[in-house]
């Protein structure tokens, strides 16, 4: 029987916390083997839950508000919930400031009318770039509050030149605010309990990647701020992000959205796995203020050119290119991610300082969607999900601040800060109204048994092998960049097979591989979501291109695609129309309403000239 330990109170720093939980006393045991892509094999590290429990001290924490993920959104959420007078615990898969996407962020969008920013112009640009499937309420929130959040991070010291690295300031801020911090802990499971027939989220469970002890955190409110994720694609430094939040939320019945939109980051054809070759300029430049919006969405012309054998389709004559990311060396496509330096305008060569100038290839973040346009679907403006007790913020919240394409440099970091703050307030208010969880030890034990299952299988498939098969299925351009029904269905067949037949045979030889096993299963959920959402949206829009439906269809698809597990455990797909007031002016001719062109679009619409 484990004791529930309430860890709160003044002057509780990380060392004190770890000592209190016993994690510090857990020595790292060096495995005698290296995990590799071994495929189906005997599990050389097989063990039992009982043995794992005996080898390290289990951690149990009761808290008011649990925040999962310590990036910009999670830290703002934690600080605000703490300011409401609650006990707050933040858990991170790595070390706060050194994990996820945040260490690589370097632009923060600030809307400031005092500096001459025009609200109508920003709204117009965001709507056009999103191709009208964005949410104007969340945009209003960002326009209203981005300046205050910028001032916050300035006050925190994040912008000072003498900091070792800007994102490290976030960790200091958590400790300064006496927020309980649990790091290097992979959260795998949202805990739920039924209260009078209503299922609510009451915290989360995971394990330490060092000691492998189970970590159980019971909470009145849980904020998912674990970011988005890719399929561990090469060349973009987010391989620790594997859509864990979406997958965990989906499994407890939450609605997920935005999965048909796709990211379009590039990497270098030479040494494509090297993130540093691509991103050293971002690392060195610090965080800068950005105040501009695009006037049109990103295009996938590079992939289209490879597919059709013809040069870029490009925008119509009236359309402007997105203002930030410049064309690549081939002149065909705009790498979206690495922006020019925000402060001094460097990057006039077309790529930020330090980025490879050689040939670029698409797909460095395959699996990722659009910032602030995928993840857990909110039911209010404070990031509550449809499951009581579960909130989301940042890149794991489908706020639709952006829509089918990114809308302006720095919107992601700024959006995370703004959303983190309001969601922290919302979750704190909720936590103040509900009773503490009453999950029994037996129920907790059952969750643990499922979490450690890959460690107990005597033989099976390695996570690395399954991930590689998934990558081979999902990476080629003709699956997610140039979509078509039969190809999507073929990929879906493989992905669902992996989920149904291979995931139950995943093995893990040690804590590191157990993390990989859960990441692999989570990536497969994301893959299935992306394929089903892409099949469902029978039109093209923004970054979603269907070769068999190569044009926008405003009659049917001014709508969001929603994914939710049905009563049979299958992934159900529905859509929700955007409000009429947010739709584009349909009296404007199509080719002017949408300035970016898809291959075959005008022929499909009967608008091709000559």
């Amino acid at each position: 029987m484990q004791k529930i330990t309430a860890l709160s109170g003044p002057k509780l720093n990380r060392r004190g916390f770890l000592t209190a939980t016993g994690l510090a006393a857990t020595a790292f045991a060096m495995p005698s083997f290296l995990a590799g892509c071994s495929g189906y094999a005997e599990n050389l590290g097989v063990t039992s839950v009982a043995a794992l429990s005996a080898s390290g001290e289990e951690t149990r924490v009761s808290t008011d508000v649990l925040v999962i993920g310590g990036g910009m959104a999670g830290v703002f959420a934690a600080v605000r919930a703490k300011a409401a007078g609650l006990d707050v615990t933040l858990v991170d898969k790595g070390t706060v400031g050194r994990s996820g996407a945040t260490p690589w962020a370097n632009t923060f969008s600030v809307f400031d009318e005092a500096e001459g920013d025009d609200r109508a112009e920003w709204i117009s640009g965001v709507r056009a770039s999103s191709e009208y499937v964005n949410n104007l309420d969340w945009l209003d929130q960002m326009l209203d509050e981005s300046k205050a959040r910028w001032e916050d991070i300035n006050e925190w010291g994040m912008l000072e030149e003498n900091v070792q690295h800007p994102s490290l300031v976030l960790r200091d801020k958590l400790l300064e605010n006496e927020i309980n911090l649990i790091e290097r802990t992979m959260i795998t499971t949202l805990l739920t309990q039924d209260d009078d027939g209503e299922r609510r989220v009451v915290g989360a469970m995971g394990f330490s990647i060092d000691g492998e002890a189970a970590v159980t955190i019971l909470a009145k409110a849980t904020i998912m701020a674990a970011g988005a994720g890719s399929f561990k694609a090469p060349g973009f430094p987010i391989q620790s992000l594997t859509s864990d939040g979406d997958a965990m939320a989906y499994k407890v019945g939450a609605v997920i959205s935005g999965k048909e939109w796709i990211d379009f980051h590039f990497t270098s054809a030479e040494n494509p796995a090297s993130c540093w070759s691509q991103w050293s300029g971002m690392w060195d430049s610090g965080v800068g203020k950005m105040s501009q919006v695009f006037t049109a969405g990103m295009t996938l012309d590079g992939a289209f050119a490879k597919h059709t054998g013809e040069e870029t389709q490009s925008s119509s004559p009236g359309g402007e290119r997105p203002s930030g990311p410049p064309p690549d060396a081939e002149g065909g496509e705009a790498p979206s991610g690495p922006p020019p330096d925000a402060e001094n305008g460097e990057g006039s060569s077309g790529l930020p300082a330090g980025q490879s100038q050689g040939e670029q290839v698409l797909g460095a973040a395959t699996g990722l969607g659009i910032h602030k346009a995928e993840g857990i679907w909110p039911i209010n403006m404070q990031g509550a999900s449809n499951i009581p007790g579960l909130y989301a913020a940042g890149d794991g919240l489908a706020s639709m601040l952006c829509g089918s394409s990114y809308v302006g440099l720095g919107f992601s970091l700024s959006g995370s800060a703004v959303q983190g703050a309001v969601v922290g307030d919302g979750a704190a208010a909720y936590a103040s109204t509900v009773l503490a969880p009453t999950l029994s030890d037996d129920e907790i034990a059952a969750f643990q048994e499922a979490m450690f299952a890959p460690r107990q299988r005597e033989s099976g498939f390695s996570p690395a092998w399954v991930t590689q098969v998934m990558q081979n299925t999902m990476f080629p351009y003709y699956v997610l960049f140039v979509k078509e029904q039969a190809r999507l269905e073929a990929a879906l067949s493989t992905i669902t097979f992996l989920r149904e037949h291979i995931v139950p045979q995943l093995t893990a030889q040690d804590a590191h591989e157990l993390k990989l096993a859960h990441e692999t299963a989570n990536m497969l959920v994301n893959a299935e979501m992306k394929l089903r959402a892409s099949l469902f949206r029978t039109e093209s829009r923004g970054t979603h291109y269907r070769e068999d439906y190569p044009a926008r269809n405003d009659d049917e698809w001014l709508a969001w695609v929603l994914l939710q597990m049905d009563a049979d455990g299958q992934m159900a797909v529905t859509k929700e129309a955007i409000p009429d007031a947010w739709k584009p002016d349909l009296s404007i001719p199509y080719v002017e309403r949408y300035v970016n062109r898809f291959p075959g679009e005008l022929e499909y619409l009967g608008l091709a000239s000559g």
Partner: protein, 73 residues
């Protein structure tokens, strides 16, 4: 390939690289008090370990190869 070397002659055993690696490639060897490369196949070549190492002990190269894929291996 990828993370290549943590020079034991330079490593002071501070553990900074361990906590700086987002993909858990590096661990401390308790017996030698040196950081060691444990899971190089998961290195994403982000160079955070290199950037945070106080004694410049880590070498990461830009190239990386992956395992051959067979029917169940």
């Amino acid at each position: 390939m990828a993370i290549k070397l943590i020079d034991p002659r330079k490593c002071i055993g501070c553990g900074t690289c361990v906590i700086s690696c987002p993909t858990d490639v590096i661990r401390m060897n308790k017996e030698t008090s040196h950081a060691v490369i444990m899971y190089p196949e998961d290195c994403q070549i982000c160079n955070m370990c290199v950037n945070f190492c106080p004694v410049d002990a880590i070498t990461v190269t830009a190239d990386k190869s992956i395992s051959i894929l067979t029917a169940w291996g």
